[in-house]
Each structure stands twice: as structure tokens, then as C-alpha cells.
């Protein structure tokens, strides 16, 4: 079978599994309601255990974040053994930019300036897309404001329509990284002393970010065989965003915190850092895949024959919550963003094909990682549909006979128990979300605190809309062989 056909088969597998799971349960609910109810009860019980387990992980991760986020990491670097010289480390920071305006970009650069880390060790690259008409104008303005603030400041302009490229962030970042490599070469800075951080344009780093990153890089047994993942939070405009968008992004942030505790599954997401040497070795980011943030991890994982990991950094990088001027538009934007995240399912065929050709990675590791990848995406695409749509089906379709049976009576009770557990979990999430919230801006009424507590009641509604459908949509699109168009997420920023 040709590699193209294998790829197509692998692209079909996640969507086929998700759809067949849903179809199987629906048909079972019609033909064999008791069997369907048994499966739903097993799933409900699994979900309850999983919810408790993951919430406990969230608490642990949160505890660690609170403990480490304000640690003086540069001082910790200074106290490392003499052979670990933090002063020799350079940070290459790339901001791929498309349509983001100065009101988005300036705070990101300001945040770099405020870092408790010598700016003489920072090389900042603003990677613009040439096709955006205002790119050069914005670049000039920023250069005037920030050029002298860092060791080097570079504006790059990614040409449109290069061969073997799609109009995606990875292509722009790669173009910028290659130009930065030339710059570093001219400055005689060795690549193995450079850590590259690729940040979304709206990313504002914590003051301790680079100290924390340097510390972990220097103390890692295999610094070049590691990516460094901070905790993404969406605090930039959290006080101004509508409830719906805020809840979704807080949940996304918490999910990432949970993932940071599951190291064997941990994959880079959004803004992250890694060794520049490794990035060059693996030939940079993918230029034709939307999920560049996770694919770059898999490229490194395969390059190092499975001996590659993601080290969680318990410090935050703050980004914008995606929302728009109206409720419906916000739902649409959130849906598109989640679909783009769920498009990470394209990693499955990518990784599977490379695993097939790689003989060095242990078979058991390959199986584990493929299973994790597949299971996480299939579960994402079906869990909310099973709980919200399929769980009531045996009762609705099973008729009087089914309802007279103990299982017919117990099914809604167990589903109700699951919802109660979700409520308890929500309380914990509410408390943790309050602890990670930035201070209330002066122009925001204190009543917003009350709104932010009450808004959690819309969680079931969010689950219904954004729980599984974006993932199922993405998998269906991948199944059909249609590519996802990359579109930047619209973000509204009121400068805080």
C-alpha cells in the first residue's frame, strides 16, 4: 500500500472510531436498550472516577504553580554549580504575528522588558506575515520602541506563497527562526546555548519565566531532549470577556494544568520553549500542519527515538480570551478555536507513519503513545455526546418494559450522580479559578466578582455546545480528507 493510502487510512481511524461509537450506542439504545444502559453506566462510572482523579491532579498542579510561580528563579540559577553557567544561555523569543495590532503586540514586548532576567541575553524576533498590509508599518513602530531594549531585536517578513508551505503559523515561525539562526551565527552564539521560545502574539510572560526556563534547562539531565511547557492562562482580558468565553478558557487552562501532571502524555501546546539546537536538528516547525505546537514535539520525539520529554514549567504565560462583539459571534469564535485545537488529531497519522518507519523506538512506547493520542481525541469527541445525548436514549426509546426494569430505574439515578459529581468538581474549579485570577481593574465593578461566581451555572450549556462537537467536527473533516483552513482567532483587547 502506498504511503499516501496508509496516511488516508490513518486519517479516517479517529473519526471512524468516534462516529462508530456514537452510532453503535444509538443503535443499541433502539434495539437493545438494556445493553446500551449497561455501557452507559460503565461509562458514567468511569467518568466519575476520571473526574475525581483529574480534579485531584488539578489541585496538585495548582498547588505546585502557587508554590513555584513567584520563586526567584534567577537567584536559583545563580546558585547552581559553576559548570552550569546561566549567563551563557541566550533566549531567542519569536512572536509569529499575522493581523494582530499594536495594542496586542506592545503588551507582549512590555512583559518581556519587565522580566527579572537580563535583557542582554534576549533576542526578540517579531515574525510578521508579508501579506498583511500593515506589517511593515507596525514593525517600524515597534522597532523604534523596542529595538534597543534587548541584545538583538529583529523584524522578519514571511513571504506569501512559498512552495511546500501553507498559510499557517508554523511556516512563519520557521522563516523567522532561520533568519534568527543567521543572526546568531553572525554574533558567534552557539546554538546549543540558545533556548527558543515561540509565543503566540498575545502572550505576556510572567516576570520569572526566563529564570524558571533557564533553571530547568540547566538542571535537566538532557536539556536538548526536552521541551519546556509553561501553564497557559487567559488573564490578559479575563475581566472584560463574556462569561461564556471566560469559562471555556479557564477550563482549557485547567486542562493544561492537569496535563502537566501526566508527564508520559504531556505534549507541547501553544506557547512553549525548547532547545534551538534541537529545533534546527529537526528542521524547525512543520510548514504545512496547523497543529505546529504539538507536531514540533513529535518531530523531536521521533528524532531522538522516543527519548524526548516535555518538562512542565510551573509559571504562567498569559494570553487573550477569544471573544467578539456579540454572544453568537463569541460562540462561533470559540467553536472555531476549539476545532483548531481538536485538529491536533492530525498528529495521529503523522506520528503513526513515522513510528512505522522508526525501528529505534521501543514497540511498547509506540503502542502507549499511539493509544494515548487516539484515546484522548476519541474521548474528546464522544464524551459529552454520550452523557448529554445518548444517556437518556434507552429510557426514551426503551418503552414501558425497560422503565419497569431495575436498570431502567437506576440509569437516570447514576447519570444524576455523575452530574452531582460534576457539580462538586465545578466548586473546586470555581475556587481555583478565583485563586489564579489577576487583580480586578479599577474600571470593573465589584459586582463582576458575583457574576464570575454565578457564571459557572452555564457549564452544562457549554458542555453541550463545545464539549465534543468541535472535536467530532475536526475528526469528520480529517476523515473526509478536507484540510482545515488556518484562521487566526479574533481577540478583543481592552488594555489593562
Amino acid at each position: 500500500m502506498s504511503s499516501q493510502k496508509i496516511k488516508r487510512c490513518l486519517e479516517i481511524i479517529p473519526g471512524a472510531l468516534s462516529w462508530s461509537s456514537i452510532a453503535f450506542l444509538v443503535i443499541l439504545a433502539i434495539l437493545r436498550p438494556v445493553s446500551c444502559a449497561i455501557l452507559i453506566i460503565i461509562f458514567d462510572f468511569y467518568w466519575i472516577i476520571r473526574t475525581v482523579y483529574l480534579t485531584t491532579l488539578l489541585i496538585l498542579a495548582h498547588r505546585k504553580l502557587m508554590k513555584e510561580k513567584n520563586k526567584r528563579w534567577l537567584s536559583a540559577c545563580q546558585h547552581l554549580s559553576p559548570d552550569k553557567k546561566w549567563e551563557e544561555i541566550y533566549h531567542l523569543i519569536i512572536f509569529p504575528v499575522y493581523k494582530e495590532g499594536l495594542e496586542i503586540l506592545r503588551p507582549s514586548l512590555e512583559a518581556l522588558k519587565k522580566c527579572r532576567y537580563p535583557r542582554e541575553n534576549m533576542v526578540v524576533v517579531m515574525a510578521f506575515e508579508e501579506r498583511f498590509p500593515k506589517a511593515r508599518e507596525n514593525a517600524q513602530i515597534l522597532e523604534r520602541e523596542f529595538a534597543g531594549e534587548f541584545f538583538e531585536y529583529l523584524s522578519t517578513f514571511h513571504p506569501d506563497g512559498l512552495s511546500n508551505e501553507k498559510r499557517i503559523k508554523g511556516a512563519n515561525a520557521t522563516w523567522a527562526a532561520k533568519l534568527a539562526r543567521e543572526l546568531l551565527g553572525r554574533k558567534n552564539i552557539p546554538y546549543d546555548k540558545v533556548i527558543i521560545s515561540c509565543f503566540d502574539a498575545d502572550t505576556c510572560v510572567e516576570k520569572e519565566y526566563f529564570g524558571c526556563l533557564s533553571y530547568h534547562f540547566l538542571t535537566s539531565p538532557k536539556p536538548h531532549q526536552s521541551s519546556y511547557q509553561p501553564i497557559p492562562v487567559y488573564n490578559n482580558n479575563i475581566w472584560y470577556a463574556p462569561s461564556f468565553a471566560r469559562i471555556v478558557e479557564i477550563s482549557a487552562s485547567f486542562c493544561q494544568m492537569i496535563e502537566s501532571m501526566r508527564l508520559e502524555k504531556f505534549v507541547t501546546f501553544s506557547s512553549h520553549s525548547m532547545s534551538f539546537k534541537t529545533l534546527v536538528d529537526i528542521d524547525y516547525w512543520p510548514k504545512n500542519m496547523i497543529s505546529d505546537d504539538s507536531v514540533v514535539y513529535w518531530k523531536a520525539f521521533i528524532f531522538y527515538n522516543g527519548d524526548y520529554r516535555v518538562i512542565p514549567l510551573y509559571t504562567t504565560v498569559s494570553m487573550d480570551i477569544a471573544y467578539s462583539s456579540s454572544f453568537l459571534k463569541t460562540i462561533l469564535i470559540q467553536y472555531k478555536q476549539k476545532k483548531r485545537w481538536a485538529w491536533g488529531v492530525e498528529n495521529f497519522p503523522y506520528v503513526a507513519i513515522r513510528f512505522l518507519h522508526n525501528r529505534q523506538i521501543p514497540f511498547i512506547i509506540k503502542i502507549k503513545r499511539m493509544f494515548h493520542l487516539l484515546e484522548s481525541h476519541v474521548t474528546w469527541a464522544v464524551w459529552a455526546i454520550i452523557i448529554v445525548v445518548i444517556a437518556p436514549l434507552p429510557i426514551l426509546l426503551g418503552g414501558w418494559f425497560f422503565r419497569q426494569m431495575p436498570i431502567g430505574y437506576n440509569l437516570p439515578l447514576i447519570t444524576g450522580l455523575l452530574l452531582n459529581f460534576t457539580l462538586v468538581t465545578s466548586f473546586i474549579w470555581i475556587i481555583l479559578s478565583r485563586l489564579t485570577l489577576p487583580p480586578r481593574p479599577k474600571d470593573i465593578s465589584w459586582m463582576k466578582n458575583v457574576v464570575m461566581l454565578l457564571e459557572w451555572v452555564i457549564v452544562p450549556f457549554i458542555i453541550l455546545i463545545l464539549g465534543s462537537t468541535p472535536a467530532l467536527d475536526a475528526q469528520t473533516q480529517l476523515m473526509s480528507g478536507r484540510e482545515l483552513e488556518f484562521c487566526t482567532t479574533e481577540k478583543m483587547r481592552k488594555v489593562v
Partner: protein, 316 residues
């Protein structure tokens, strides 16, 4: 391995063990199975679902008090007959035997627990022998046989007041009836009718507030107020008469009846009297028929009819 990862690993295994150990119990319980310790076998069970109004009753199963209160389900019951007893303070105990079948839900979901001391309130403030309720006006009328007065109050017994007095009839009264406008009240025995005016304005016209009409023509079975609130339709054992509700009124016979104590009904909206009477047919046998006597006054004013009838019946 960091301490978090060790905790996480422990949590994972705890979750896994909980899932693996808990699942068989949850599934068997959901499916209605119970481990029978006597036979060391899983036996299919049934359950009883109980809901009561009000909630919160203690549940006894075969005289054993359960922990849960209603609404509740008693799960994992081996097939058989059970005695269910529900107790709630200050309410009557509910008890019944229930048959539980395997793999079935026995529902006791329409149980009302009635209070032992219902909320009863005495409305009358005087001694009464009779009362009736005017639903349209939310008024209760009371008859006091000692002072021969009629009282009224609202439906809560408030605004209790005297509205009229009456002359006692002997022998005993058969029925009390209001006029349609509620301004007059009549009561009657077999040969006497007393009409009481409840409308104080009537006294301005010099009428008595209560007067008695003698009816010697037969034994009265029923009296209807005509829709004009002035005439009375008297159904006696041998005739149907009409008379004015005034002292000295003379009855006019509308129909002579063959059947004694016949059923009769007055349709207020259409001014018609329906009555049952028997008639001899050509075969010589008596048959009961239902008749309608139209008293529609728009086309044939009753007043004129009565005047005419008292002298001579009109010819066709």
C-alpha cells in the same frame, strides 16, 4: 520521580482499583442482582420505588426501619412478598403488602399520607340547624332554629351577620331555595311555602319580609324559582302550578300529572320545565314520557299567560 508524580501514580492506581472493584457492584446493583449469602449465588432482585405526599416518611420493610426516608428506592429485594409501612409524624400510617418480582420495579408512587388532625375551623357563630353555600358569591348561609334567624358569612366564617328572620313551618321543612338573584329565599313543606325577602330595599315597597303561602291543591314535591325571580313553579304530586311570590297569590295549574312524585327539572336559561309523566297508549298500557313545558316569556309574557289562564285557556 518527584513527589507529585509519586502521588499521581498512587492516585492513578487508587482510581483504577476503585473502578475495577466498584464496577461489578454498580453493574450488578443496576441490573438488580444481589449476592445471596445463604446460597452463595447472585440472585436477580427487584426493587420498590416509593414516593409519598408529603415526603420524609419513615419506611419500614417487614417491620424493619430503613435509613432512608421517602422518596426512596428499596433495592436488591429478593423476589417475594414484603410488608411496607410508612410512618410520618402526625399522619396516619400507611401499610400494605407488596409483591416484588425479579428484574421489575414495583412502584408505590401515589401515596398520600393524611394528617391525623386536619385543620378544621368552626365557621358559624350561632347555633344552626342547616346551612348552604352560595359558590358564586362566596357566601355561607346559616339557619338558626332557636331564634328563627338566617345568618350569613364569607367562606372563612368572617363577616358573620344576620340577614333575615323566618316563621317556622310545621310539619318540617322539605327544602330551602334561593331565587336566582339571591334576594329571596323560600322554604316549604307539603302544603305551605314561606318566602323571605333578603333584600332590605323590598321593605320600602311595603312588602313583608316573610310571608306564608298555603297550598292546599296537593302535596308539594318541588318548587323552582322562575327566572324572573318573582314566580314560583310548584311541582305537586298531581300537577304543576305557577304562582306569584306574594301574599295571597292564587296558583294557576299549567299541567295535570298522572304520575305521582314525578321527576322534574327547571332549565333556568331557557325557561322550560322538564317533567316525567305517564300516559295511556293505544294498547291500553301506561308509558312514562319526558315532557318539556316551555315558559319562554319573551314571546309569551308569563304575566299575560297567567292572567289568561286564570280565566280561560286560549284556543288554538
Amino acid at each position: 520521580m518527584s513527589s507529585e508524580q509519586r502521588i499521581r501514580a498512587a492516585l492513578f492506581y487508587i482510581a483504577l482499583v476503585t473502578f475495577l472493584l466498584g464496577l461489578p457492584f454498580i453493574l450488578s446493583s443496576s441490573l438488580g442482582y444481589k449476592f445471596n449469602r445463604r446460597t452463595f449465588q447472585f440472585t436477580k432482585t427487584g426493587l420498590i420505588a416509593i414516593k409519598t405526599q408529603p415526603q420524609g416518611a419513615d419506611v419500614y420493610l417487614d417491620n424493619r426501619l430503613l435509613n432512608d426516608k421517602t422518596p426512596t428506592n428499596i433495592n436488591e429485594l429478593l423476589p417475594g412478598r414484603y410488608q411496607i409501612k410508612l410512618e410520618l409524624k402526625d399522619h396516619y400510617t400507611y401499610a400494605r403488602d407488596v409483591d416484588v418480582a425479579q428484574d421489575k420495579v414495583t412502584r408505590l408512587e401515589k401515596i398520600i399520607l393524611f394528617p391525623k388532625r386536619p385543620d378544621i375551623k368552626q365557621l358559624n357563630k350561632e347555633k344552626i340547624s342547616f346551612c348552604w353555600i352560595d359558590e358564586d358569591r362566596n357566601i355561607v348561609y346559616y339557619v338558626n332554629p332557636e331564634d328563627n334567624n338566617i345568618y350569613k358569612s364569607d367562606l372563612n366564617g368572617e363577616h358573620f351577620e344576620k340577614v333575615a328572620n323566618f316563621i317556622p313551618l310545621l310539619p318540617l321543612v322539605k327544602k330551602w331555595k334561593f331565587s336566582w338573584d339571591r334576594n329571596k329565599l323560600l322554604y316549604f313543606n307539603a302544603h305551605q311555602i314561606e318566602v323571605i325577602s333578603l333584600d332590605k330595599n323590598n321593605e320600602e315597597h311595603g312588602r313583608d319580609s316573610a310571608f306564608i303561602l298555603d297550598y292546599p291543591l296537593g302535596s308539594i314535591n318541588e318548587i323552582f324559582w322562575h327566572s324572573d325571580n318573582y314566580h314560583l313553579i310548584v311541582v305537586a304530586d298531581n300537577r304543576i302550578d305557577i304562582l306569584e311570590a306574594r301574599p295571597g297569590s292564587i296558583p294557576v295549574t299549567l299541567v295535570k300529572l298522572n304520575k305521582k312524585n314525578a321527576y322534574s327539572f327547571y332549565d333556568f336559561r331557557n325557561d322550560a320545565v322538564y317533567f316525567l309523566d305517564s300516559q295511556i297508549a293505544s294498547d291500553g298500557k301506561a308509558y312514562d314520557n319526558l315532557y318539556k313545558l316551555d315558559l319562554f316569556t319573551k314571546f309569551y309574557p308569563l304575566q299575560e299567560f297567567i292572567k289568561l289562564k286564570s280565566n280561560e285557556l286560549p284556543k288554538d
